[in-house]
């Protein structure tokens, strides 16, 4: 699964890790993240993320 990078702060969402601190299990693809999921570092929305 592809990683996605926040264009605002550089945080990388790694599907292999998920975002457990915010209830997202490991193995969750970026597309499957909830619509209202935000960057855990800066709070930016999914639309600010780019595939890497």
């Amino acid at each position: 699964m592809k990683k996605f990078k926040c264009a605002v702060c550089g945080y990388v969402y790694d599907p292999a890790r998920g975002d457990p601190e915010h209830g997202v299990k490991a193995g969750t693809s970026f597309d499957d993240l909830p619509k209202d999921w935000v960057c855990p570092e800066c709070g930016s929305g999914k639309e600010m993320f780019e595939e890497i």
Binding site: A7, V8, V38, C42, M48
Partner: protein
């Protein structure tokens, strides 16, 4: 002051300032990693390094009147905007270092604002008056600086208004 000690103290000041900054970041990371006491240690020692840096600064005679300090601040910010960062940005582009280009861009945009704020503050202090501001708002993602309110969205980096810290 003798030339060698002056140079050495300047380097020591730079080193202590970097240690202060690194330890503050290490403290935050330690808390995230689940080691709050290590975090406390880093934070406390970062303050110690600040004390060291401050002592060197005073011995060097670089802590002066507010008017003079503001003048030094304007000079420092202008140097970064006009010389240092444009050069660093050019090299980062040649070396295709995109993350460095971003952190440089974030710094330059804020330093432009700081130079203007310091320059206006200096004019005010020269007439004996403090600046009339209520608060200062800083974007924690990029350092964008704004008086009295935070925007809904940072104009430099795009972070939401919730990313702003108020002073």
């Amino acid at each position: 002051m003798k030339k060698m000690t002056d140079k050495n103290l300047h380097e020591a000041f730079a080193g202590e300032s970097q240690a202060h900054m690194k330890y503050m970041n290490f403290s935050e990371q330690a808390r995230k990693d689940g080691f709050p006491n290590v975090g406390k240690l880093f934070l406390a020692v970062s303050f110690a390094e600040q004390v060291h840096a401050s002592n060197h600064l005073k011995v060097l005679g670089e802590l002066k009147s507010t008017k003079e300090n503001l003048e030094a601040a304007v000079g420092g910010e202008n140097f970064e905007v006009e010389e240092m960062y444009p050069a660093y940005d050019a090299v980062a582009k040649v070396q295709d270092e995109k993350d460095a280009q971003r952190s440089i861009r974030y710094a330059v945009e804020a330093e432009k604002i700081h130079a203007k704020m310091y320059s206006d503050a200096k004019k005010s202090v020269e007439t004996g008056k403090d600046i009339s501001i209520k608060s200062v708002h800083i974007c924690k993602v990029c350092g964008f600086t704004h008086y009295d309110s935070a925007p809904d969205k940072c104009p430099v980096c795009g972070a939401p208004g919730t990313a702003f810290v108020e002073f």
